[in-house]
Symmetry: C2
Subunit: 310 residues, 2 copies
């Protein structure tokens, strides 16, 4: 059961030969959720061997070119590859107008687009399927921008086969035990659930925060997240510039991670001015040691853990 984030682009708006602009693919089991879709996303998906057919939904943070210019090409390719099932697209106001307005000049897509336009001023539950839920939350940038919090759903417990035999548990009682119930043998004290099942699996979570200036209460929203991506366009040398452009420094990102008690912090969206991002990583690690810098093609896997291991 995979829960991992592949970095498709780790750069900011100005193109470099090392970093594509922003896009990520969150894998949950065999499904992929695309988070932002900059120019070149479809090439990066090919490069990192992510199958287009497995894309379940697309989540766009804001309407800046370096986060969306890959959408027309990706959608055209999905159509060319004969996708027929609808695609859900979550994103800011005007994203639908922009996209539909231009797609009309080209061969019509062979599948429907289901747009979900965000307006939330507070965290809002926007998506669920059998495996995950997604909540959007507002960020602070020059245009309306949202971050996304992906959470695995609680999984049913795995019942121990040997215990079924030992207690002669009938089939009809198994669903309740998988949901956490104790088992009443009818011969006295019920058998505690923990004795009948394997330890519970902790649902995993991922939060995506780009682009944004430092937001004080963000840590509350992404509290205890396993993996936090937070943009870090600048280092401390670019602090003034970060405020002007409504971006964050590596230090800002690390302060959010620390206050949120995140498992790990990944920083990215580095300005092209930084040929070497080591100083940014060091600045973040001073505040939040478990920080890594995103590079195109990196995969951040969140291991499955039992609650006991917490």
């Amino acid at each position: 059961m995979t829960f991992s984030v592949t970095i498709l682009g780790s750069g900011a708006a100005a193109p470099t030969s090392q970093r594509y602009p922003t896009a990520q693919a969150l894998q949950v089991d065999e499904h992929f959720f695309l988070v932002d879709c900059a120019e070149g996303t479809q090439m990066q998906l090919r490069r990192y061997k992510i199958r287009f057919q497995q894309i379940r939904a697309v989540f766009i943070s804001h309407l800046h070119g370096d986060h969306v210019f890959g959408l027309p090409g990706l959608l055209s390719s999905l159509s060319l590859l004969e996708r027929v099932e609808p695609l859900d697209l979550f994103g800011p106001p005007y994203m639908e107008d922009w996209l539909r307005g231009q797609l009309k000049y080209f061969t019509p897509l062979g599948f429907p687009l289901h747009f979900h336009t965000l307006t939330a001023k507070e965290p809002e539950f926007i998506y669920e399927d059998s495996r995950v839920t997604v909540t959007c939350f507002p960020l602070k940038h020059r245009v309306p921008t949202w971050g996304y919090l992906f959470r695995e759903k609680e999984k049913l417990l795995n019942i121990r086969k040997d215990m079924i035999g030992f207690y002669h548990i009938p089939l009809r009682d198994i669903p309740a035990i998988k949901a956490g119930a104790d088992y009443d043998t009818g011969e006295g004290k019920p058998v505690p659930n923990a004795q009948l099942t394997h330890p519970a699996i902790k649902p995993r979570s991922y939060a995506y925060c780009s682009d944004t200036v430092y937001v004080d209460d963000l840590s509350r929203i992404v509290k205890d997240v396993d993996l936090l991506y937070h943009e870090a366009t600048y280092g401390n040398d670019g602090k003034a510039r970060s405020k002007e452009t409504f971006h964050s420094t590596a230090d800002d990102a690390a302060r959010v991670a620390l206050a949120a008690n995140a498992g790990k912090l990944v920083i990215g969206h580095f300005s092209a001015r930084y040929k070497d991002i080591t100083p940014l990583v060091n600045e973040a690690r001073r505040v939040f040691p478990n920080t890594e810098a995103a590079e195109d093609g990196m995969v951040f896997e969140i291991e499955q853990r039992h609650r006991a291991e917490q």
Copy 2:
């Protein structure tokens, strides 16, 4: 004095990990002319170290995504890199509507776009600067499509310094000699121009033909071109499909090159169905031996030659 074509993308619409969709950069001295601009063009320009500031004009063949989806990103980046001089864009009807219609959702560009909408049903002269002229000519595809013929201008002759001294040629007579005139010493028979100048340089030419089904009189239009790019989406095994989709086979491309007496043929825009394009190259070479297959990053340089070497 460089005259060369860099292949930025050699694939057709469906993306592959090996080939970006269609774009090329023609270098004439220190200027670049972009020919088509598929998604990822700006990344390929970075990869192949072509400076954005040197792009002089853009020529688009037709309004299919795999030839234009890189335009919004490229224009945004040019603006971010503080381009101020206008950019000329040549292309099909509706290209301006499509592009302006979507750019209005983003940060306004810092430089003006000068659109030149093609309507020509015959070859038409559309551009010139101090070095080249450009002619567009209609191709036959599913939507209105044009090819482009780039020709270096005739260069003035280089006058031999030793002859200026020997005949005491006054400054005022030099422009005429550079333009090809003989020199009248006033003492009998004029000195023939060939004795006073270095041999004339042959203007070089490049023709771009994509996308198109086989067009019989294309060879007349690109007659004697030094370098011919002609799409070859299919091999002979895809002949029927090529007609249906208004594309060419490698054999079609080679027949155009042969009839045109081209110096060299480059084929590209290969369908993703061909993992190995050797059969296509072989099919073309059977008709026109001096054929090469485009690969992303290849540079086709046309050497400067004197007329005597023709």
